[in-house]
């Protein structure tokens, strides 16, 4: 049986790992290679690395760091951050990364996903979107790099599906780092309207949240804080659900 995935999302800033709250207040949580070694031992389903500075600062991906990451990972890995060109994708795949997350470049060039999925296959291309909610409760896609809002989420998702995206990673900005549960109704609405797998991220605080988000039709439950912090004072400690917990999440 296909088991829904539980995926740590690790944020890269310079060459370290950080964790944010609502995409701000980044706190250093450790060294990526050390984290990977722990996640290898725990036989994690998959890892997502997002370089949060690359697109904002208009810098290309840090290929040397990606190469180090790839050489330690014996599980599927997705990398995102700073990708503007197709040949950068080719280079990263060669290093041993399987999936590429595209966020800003998709908003800048509406043909990019189509070109990338044609060349590298749908399953390689993950479209990452950051979702905002205003005081009226209306959702929009927000780009931190471009400082722009995009209103119609469902038209947007339909287009990236038609363009050949293999997965959608949805990050709820308003839930990021606060550990109060996912936005389950939004996840459900997006998953029901989508033919491709949806990875939900933002707000996870417990094993129960993972289970509930899978029940909300997400194909994968992703989180940041949950996997790197421990206890009420948020001490840095890397963890991952054990076999029994994973079975419960998927039951």
């Amino acid at each position: 049986m296909l088991r829904p995935r539980v995926i740590p999302v690790l944020l890269l800033k310079n060459t370290g790992l950080v964790k944010s709250v609502k995409f701000k207040n980044h706190r250093y949580v450790g060294d990526p290679i050390n984290a990977i070694k722990i996640f290898n031992d725990k036989e994690v389903d998959e890892l997502i690395f997002l370089d949060i500075d690359a697109s904002k600062n208009n810098t290309p991906p840090n290929f040397e760091l990606i190469s180090q990451i790839a050489s330690e990972c014996f599980m599927p890995v997705c990398y995102g951050g700073g990708i503007t060109k197709l040949d950068q994708i080719e280079k990263i795949l060669k290093l041993g990364i399987e999936k590429i997350a595209i966020n800003t470049q998709n908003l800048k060039d509406s043909n990019f996903i189509k070109k990338a999925s044609n060349l590298f296959g749908s399953s390689t291309i993950v479209v990452s979107i950051d979702i905002n909610k205003n005081f009226l409760g209306n959702y929009s896609i927000y780009s931190h790099s471009l400082k722009k809002n995009y209103k119609n989420i469902f038209d947007f998702i339909k287009k990236i599906e038609d363009d050949g995206a293999g997965e959608i990673l949805i990050n709820s900005i308003y839930n990021d780092g606060i550990m109060k549960g996912y936005d389950f109704s939004l996840v459900k609405k997006i998953s029901m309207n989508s033919k491709i797998p949806v990875i939900a991220c933002g707000g996870a605080s417990s094993i129960q949240d993972f289970r509930d988000v899978i029940k909300s039709n997400a194909s994968a439950a992703a989180a940041g804080s949950f996997f790197v912090f421990h206890g009420p004072h948020k001490a840095v400690l890397i963890s991952y659900p054990n076999e029994e917990e994973l079975n419960y999440i998927c039951s």
């Binding site: 296909l2 290898n40 790839a70 599980m75 399987e98 749908s122 399953s123 029901m192 797998p197 194909s219």
Partner: protein, 201 residues
């Protein structure tokens, strides 16, 4: 020595990294003239069928591979698209495949919207008796990611199946030729066991 075929498509780096981890000597080879008789080979692949065949053809891999695999019977393992390229044709494209095994590649199609395509994630396999699956069993989980699967004309070549909406062939073996749909190089200890098994064939 395992030679990993770098024809322009595929995660050669991941395979090299895992073989290194389990202490199996390997090299990434970007030119068919560098393929040696007496080696084992891995044909990886992430991408589209026609593009894969085009790259194999344009860079003169096919003739050399036919000599080493079909005539000289050196072992080869195709992974994901690499497995699919060994068949006769694919619904994903119009070009003929390598035709090392009588099979065609078919796209998943489900009425149930909960069965997403691609089939992506960890799924246990149902292996049959094969050297490739030594010490592995139906609890062994492998990472799958694909929208197409191999449909064999002769099912006796099937050495493992996976269930996703239905039971499909996730590994085959015909003489010295092995193909797996899933990604051992990304499947933790189960993948390490499988690659170690292949290195001992």
């Amino acid at each position: 020595m395992i030679q990993i075929i770098d024809y322009g498509l595929g995660n050669t780096g991941s395979i090299y990294n895992m073989l290194k981890k389990i202490g199996v000597k390997s090299e990434i080879v970007d030119n068919p003239l560098k393929l040696n008789d007496g080696s084992k080979y891995i044909l990886p692949g992430v991408g589209s069928f026609d593009n894969g065949i085009k790259l194999l053809k344009n860079n003169n891999w096919i003739e050399k591979l036919n000599e080493l695999i079909i005539l000289k019977k050196n072992p080869i393992l195709g992974i994901c698209l690499g497995m699919q390229l060994m068949t006769k044709s694919s619904e994903e494209g119009i070009k003929p495949g390598l035709s090392w095994i009588d099979a065609k590649v078919i796209k998943f199609s489900f009425k149930d919207n909960n069965l997403k395509i691609p089939h992506m994630g960890w799924n246990n396999i149902n292996p049959k008796k094969s050297k490739l699956f030594y010490e592995l069993n139906n609890q062994s989980r492998f990472y799958h990611v694909h929208s197409f699967y191999v449909s064999l004309s002769d099912h006796s070549f099937e050495i493992a199946s996976t269930n996703y909406g239905k039971e499909f062939t996730s590994a085959f073996n015909k003489e010295n030729i092995y193909g797996v749909q899933f990604h051992p190089e990304k499947s933790h200890k189960h993948g390490m066991q499988l690659l170690s098994n292949f290195s001992k064939i």
